[in-house]
Amino acid sequence: MSAHDHDLTQLDSRIVASAAEGCEESKLLLSRRAALGLSAGFFTWAFTPHLAEASSSDPRLLIVLLRGGMDGLNVAVPIGDPQYAKLRGRLALVKENLLPLNSYFYLHPSLAFFKTLYNAGQATIVHAVAPPMKNRSHFECQRNLENGTPGDKEDRTTGGWLNRLLSKLTPADRVKAGALQIGPTPLILQGTEKVLSWSPTLWPRPAGFDTSLLNLYKSTDSALYDLLLKGITANSLATSTSGPALSPDASSLQLSFRGAAKLLGAPSGAPRIAVLNVEGWDTHVGQPQALAANLNNLDKSLSDFTAIAKNSGYWNDTVVLCVTEFGRTAKGNSDNGTDHGVGTVAMLAGGAVKGGKVVANWPGLSNLYDGRDLRPTYDLRQVFKSVIRSHLGVQDKKILDEVVFPGSSLISALPELIRT
């Protein structure tokens, strides 16, 4: 594990103050939640068959799953909402320290690179958005975000909406290898479409060993043969050394983004869709430090990804979409953190994004959901549908409303997110 193995804790300032009064309980060592665990980032990619309905462009999509529930209210801060500072109390961020998105919303200062994309019209924020399920359970809301169901009743649906989408696309000859990922497969990519995977080779085998093993599998276990061959093929794609010079000092999340960028940039038969997990947004305790560190790491990773995508010439065909399972309580808790909430942000970046604006039907913080959380006025499926329709070029309503997002005929794509 990384340095945070040794990063014991931060003391809560209120507890420190109470400790000074001689209160024994207040001397408890408070911990940050496991919020700095960004090193666990890994990514997943999937081949997109050449889209029959797409234009001559060759679209790329990177979906970043921010797991744990990112605090949208402190990412794109509604400075213009008079309730914000009151509700947030000591967690409230102040305008002077933030990056202006417009006169109402201000961006967290750790997202400086995202801000340059925003200024260039290549990044946008969708605010007050949530998946349809709103029960504040990580597992349920993540599952709902990824399986694409309405989430209004008990749901043991297996398989993810992105895999269902892939299964409905028309395969072209040049792509037939399936999908690719690192580490555990996120639900969003599970399903009938095969998934490939990649991670860095840490302990290479002697020359000839891989061939011996492939031969053995070929005659004894065709499934293992198929898997190993794909794994080896993906590795050679991902470890190509060409590209822009990047800092040698990189977090593992940065390395994951770089690998994703390389794989998405490979020319023929290469993946066009990637999914990448980023753990650690569950900021119950000591949120200010944890959120800043997480956003900073994400911002640097996005910067690296952009550099490679531009160098490879596909940035203008790219959408990076960052989503999270829920937002956090409008009020802070008593541990300098926030608890599970509902409404939050979705972040989009890329040359194909019609950016430079905040997309919000702002509900106002005087109108909280269940009296405690940002009320979502957009359904995350509206964002997904917009990207699928305008970026990937899939227009078929039946596929979108019944297969990819079953029971979603009343959920319309958000307009004006993608350049067309």
Binding site: H6, L28, R33, R205, S219, L229
Partner: protein, 485 residues
């Protein structure tokens, strides 16, 4: 079905599906008679879990030398809280609290965790099959904790396993549950040490309130499960009931250990899934956990999870019901439930399907090669890195739901590619080629001993590599016979 399997297939299922893989020092022939394999599992249940004592955990005493010593649990907790004490003699304790990051003297909380993990690499080599060890691992994952969150978790994760999970692995689920929820590692992992009754003495003074985290996961993950029929009000009720379940603070001699703080406890009666708890103090939480531990929904949840872990991603309702019945009838006795699992005919499915989880498979390499105590413990740093890389190291899962049991998660192209590298790296770390036994024994002979049903193709491929024991064994441990369950 058990009845349709040959004795050889039953042996394979016992070792690869229920156990930790073949033991090079094993004494039994699991296919010697029709029921030998199942009997071996029942024998291990009868023998009970291996006990691991505090005295066996040796950690570096200081930065200055390599001497390793044992510590008491109170001392371990203090180190977990980053409070320095001179360990020997305990009576002359002097304390120098250190502050800040990277400012540690040994032992660090992570030294305790490493020592605990290292010792298990020795213990895993003892049982014939390792079924009870697998049960311990199942419950460790059921009560998943993340040790990197806080030093107290890292320092005491092994203690939680030894004194609670291992202790009750064939006892009553209620005892295991109560022990886990009261343990400093779980209290801290799920933030109950910062949960305050809003109208408790200190809650009022600090204007602080309860934290739902532990209560929610008790319901959603540990007991009745997400479809167990609870509501947000039940979460809040349970959260209030267990306010005050905390750990001693820094300035207390018992720093880091569990205690019930009445000044944090929310007064009043609260309801959890249809039952009101009006007891005073700590007894209220104990009663609520006992209620949840034997709830029928808990029986269903545990039965489904056991079957998904050991047998199939998609257990039938009939299988679940049979196991859940054993849970209900025995009031959650895990010996009865584990026995019922072994005796469930439908739990014995045809071998060679799915893929074994990385951790248990790595353990089976250690058991297949056979390492002496010191050599096994020396593997720990590499074992840790490899399992972390394969996303299956204990006490490292990011979220409280534990590692998933779905096969698709583990049987992927990259995972298969990494397995071959991982096996090779472990064998190299263990300097397996240095073993003088390769002067008189060929790896292909060992392969036939460990895996009597090895395919002709695999046997011949290994034989071709006999002159290079490292590559030959590397191949053996990634044959389909070793990778699949």
């Amino acid at each position: 079905m058990y009845s349709t399997l040959t004795p050889q297939e039953r042996a394979r299922v016992a070792l690869m599906r229920f156990g930790l893989g073949p033991n090079v020092n094993g004494k039994k022939n699991l296919s010697a008679s029709p029921h030998a394999a199942r009997q071996a599992l029942l024998d291990e249940i009868a023998a009970g879990p291996a006990r691991i004592s505090e005295a066996e955990i040796k950690v570096p005493s200081t930065d200055q030398n390599d001497q390793k010593v044992s510590f008491t649990f109170p001392q371990t907790c203090r180190y977990g809280m980053n409070l320095r004490t001179k360990p020997v003699p305990a009576s002359s304790t002097t304390e120098v609290p250190t502050e800040g990051v990277h400012n540690y003297v040994r032992p660090t909380p992570w030294d305790f965790q490493s020592a605990e993990r290292a010792l298990r690499l020795v213990k895993y080599q003892e049982p014939e099959v390792g079924f009870v060890e697998r049960l311990v691992l199942f419950w460790v994952n059921h009560f998943s904790i993340l040790s990197s969150k806080h030093g107290i978790i890292a320092a005491t994760a092994g203690h939680l396993e030894r004194t609670v999970i291992r202790q009750h692995v064939l006892g009553n689920f209620a005892d295991m549950l109560k022990g886990v929820i009261k343990h400093p590692a779980m209290i801290t992992y799920l933030d109950n040490h910062v949960s305050y009754g809003p109208t408790s003495t200190l809650g009022r003074r600090w204007k602080a309130t309860y934290n739902e985290n532990l209560a929610r996961e008790i319901l959603e993950l540990h007991t009745v499960g997400v479809y167990g029929g609870y509501s947000q009000n039940d979460v809040i009720g349970l959260a209030k009931i267990i306010t005050g379940w905390t750990i001693y603070p820094y300035n207390n001699g018992n720093a880091g250990q569990f205690y019930f703080n009445k000044d944090l406890h929310e007064p009043g009666a609260f309801t959890v899934i249809g039952k009101e708890f009006a007891q005073a103090g700590e007894a209220q939480g104990t009663a609520a956990l006992e209620h949840l531990a034997i709830h029928p929904a808990t029986a269903q949840h545990i039965a489904r999870k056991l079957l998904r872990h050991f047998v199939t991603d998609n257990p039938t309702e009939k299988m679940i019901q049979e196991l859940a019945d054993a849970f209900v009838v025995s009031n959650g006795n895990l010996k009865a439930v584990s026995t019922a699992l072994v005796n469930l005919d439908s739990a014995w499915i045809k071998p060679g399907t799915g893929i074994r989880r990385p951790y248990e498979w790595m353990v089976s390499i250690v058991r297949g090669v056979g390492f002496s105590g010191a050599n096994a413990m020396a593997l720990e740093p590499a074992f840790d890195i490899i399992n972390t890389n394969m996303s299956n190291q204990i006490w490292k899962h990011m979220t409280p739901d534990g590692y998933p049991d779905d096969n698709y998660v583990w049987e992927t192209p990259d995972a298969v590619r990494v397995r071959k590298d991982a096996a090779g790296h472990l064998l190299a770390t263990g300097a397996v080629w240095k073993d003088p036994k390769w002067k008189s024994q060929k790896p292909s002979e060992l392969a036939k001993t460990l895996v009597p049903h090895l395919s002709m193709a695999a046997a011949s491929a290994i034989q071709k590599l006999d002159r290079d024991p490292m590559q030959a064994l590397n191949l053996l441990f990634v044959t389909p016979e070793y990778l699949r369950r």
